[in-house]
Amino acid sequence: MKIAVCIKRVPDMETRFKIAASGTAVDESGLKYDMSDFDGYAVETALQLNEKQGPGETVVISLGPDVVQEQLRKALSMGADRAVQLKADKVPADGLAIARALAAELQGGGYDLILFGRQAVDSANATVGPMTAELLGLPCATAVSTLEIANGRATARRDLEGAAEIVEFPLPAVVSVDEGMPRARYPSLKGIMAAKKKPLEVKPAQLGAEHIAIEKMELPPERAAGRIVGEGTAAVPELVRLLHTEAKVL
């Protein structure tokens, strides 16, 4: 199958973030970056599908400045065949602009399947995947936790609150992947070397107008310090008392 995977470069979420002097962005100094978690599952899904179903092509695409090539090369070192950087000074806050640029690149690419992560772990919007599908006029299933492809048709599970649905749809289609999909393999050292020889194309991103701007980024208020109520089962009565009288949740 010809599969495209759209990936995003994000900072390590384990970081204790600080706000940049501008007040409208996170301070980037000293941050470590990687592919967004769900995007990694998407790349892995594509690789496994092509490994299982015979020869195919996995193309990874990322929008942003030149540093995103690092994440594209990581996908290449995992086993993707080709990479495209849609070059932009920064990743817009407006998902529709990103979707437009991606749709322009994906249009006419002959992809059987276009994969996204459910959401980027930094911006956490979950909009770009389904918007891109809509712009391409392709069927779309979001937040799937299983995906099977046979004879040009896909079956997927989508978890809802307290329930799940099994959906079926024809290819070509757009799918965004969630927990339950396979975790990203770590690149082998030979894969890292091989990635250097694989094609990585740079093209300008056709973003169009943006209608979302970041006015402010701030840290949430700190929680007040809590306390250890006691040790072992002996502490239970006191905990229950506090939950009743102080926290008033019981």
Binding site: E70, L189, K190, G191, I192, M193
Partner: protein, 390 residues
């Protein structure tokens, strides 16, 4: 660990990617099992296929022999990340890569290279390196293992080797022996010895309190017959095995940094959460001093090894430079592990914490591949021109 001195800016994207892959492998496959393996005294053989698939064995040897073809800084980073897990794991990789694959690559015939290297890279053939003997450790030139050439060009090997990592699991041993009764070290040649050859025995050395998650054996050769193509044709003299040691020592200088980093990270995390006298112990001056010293020594060691790697890639490395790095880095790592163990207090004696395991392991690393003292004399001789060896 925070990159305090922005050493990452001196690494290429590829080098950082290599480090990230090995780190992830160690975090997922080694760290969860290594504490138990250490206590049980067993090497986790089950990770060998994973390590091979990752491409760790002989990673700096060329792609044409099935290896990853990485540069020497990448190779060093691999050793660093493996030893962050455990010195025994890194020892396994050091032996396979620097002491088995390297001599075949450097001293072997094209046939030997084509036959062994791809399978060794794939972890299908595990090797060991037989140089040290029961009575000849720091002085390998004195070895008594002897190989006698027969009329038909085959060889008969007799002798014993000791402290051999991977000895019991190896399918082949690279054995260094003097030849044809000549007791001078000029007669030393290398031999590829399949371990199932009659007369070859390997016996686990039990009772170790260090490198417990590593296979350490004695090898005994009693009239071991070897075909004539067992010899490494380009080997000759003590220089040959010493070249292998230089390779391994280079990797070790990086590896111990990983162990030191693991101990430092563990200490730092502990010190910021462990509360005593109403504040985290990391707020007390003596603990801060420990942490400051650890950080400083790690940074210094990283810069030593990084520059050494660049020299190696430029073909300019000397064995004495490697001695400086091995000596310094092993010394600082053993100190850091011990200080970390102390910072952790009573908890530091539990296997649940890594520092004491690293501390015990590093005593072996301090001693093997040229003891600290030997490297001291190598440096002394290098700068004065005078030998203080005897």
């Amino acid at each position: 660990m925070q990159d305090f001195f922005d050493i990452d800016s001196a690494l290429s994207e590829e080098e950082r990617a290599v480090r990230a892959s090995v780190r992830q492998f160690v975090d997922e496959r080694i760290i969860p099992v290594i504490g138990d393996c250490y206590i049980e005294g067993r090497f986790p053989k089950e990770i060998i296929p994973g390590l091979a698939e990752l491409g760790v064995f002989g990673a700096n040897l060329p792609e044409e022999y099935g290896c990853a073809g990485l540069n020497n800084v990448s190779y060093g980073l691999i050793m660093q990340e493996l030893e962050r897990g455990d010195s025994g794991i890194r020892s396994f990789a050091s032996v396979q890569g620097a002491l088995v694959m390297y001599p075949i690559f450097t001293f072997g015939s094209e046939e030997q290279k084509k036959h062994y290297l791809p399978k060794m890279a794939a972890g299908e053939i595990i090797g060991c390196f037989g140089l040290t003997e029961p009575d000849y450790g720091s002085n390998p030139s004195g070895m008594i293992t002897m190989a006698k050439e027969q009329a038909d060009g085959s060889w008969v090997l007799n002798g014993a080797k000791m402290w051999i990592t991977n000895g019991s699991q190896a399918k082949v041993a690279i054995v260094w022996a003097k030849t044809n009764g000549d007791k001078s070290d000029k007669s030393i040649r290398g031999f590829i010895v399949p371990t199932d050859t009659p007369g070859f025995t390997a016996k686990d050395q039990k009772g170790k309190l260090s490198l417990r998650a590593s296979d350490t054996s004695e090898l005994v050769f009693q009239d071991v017959h070897l075909p004539k193509d067992a010899i490494l044709p380009k080997s000759g003299g003590i220089k040959s095995p010493l070249m292998c040691l230089t390779q391994a020592r280079y990797g070790i200088s990086w590896g111990v940094i990983g162990a030191a980093m693991a101990c430092y990270e563990e200490s730092l995390a502990y010190s910021t959460s462990r509360v005593m006298f109403d504040k985290p112990i990391g707020g007390f001056q003596l603990q801060q001093q420990r942490l400051a010293i650890m950080l400083t020594e790690i940074v210094k060691a990283q810069l030593v090894s990084l520059h050494l790697g660049r020299l190696k890639d430029a073909g300019k490395l000397t064995p004495q430079q490697v001695s400086l790095a091995k000596r310094n880095n092993c010394d600082m790592a053993t100190d850091i592990a011990r200080e970390a163990r102390r910072l952790l207090g009573a908890n530091g004696i539990l296997a649940e914490y890594a520092s004491m395991r690293h501390m015990a392991n590093l005593e072996s690393v301090y001693t093997y591949e040229g003891t600290h003292d030997i490297h001291t004399l190598i440096l002394g001789q290098a700068v004065t021109g005078l030998s203080a060896f005897n």
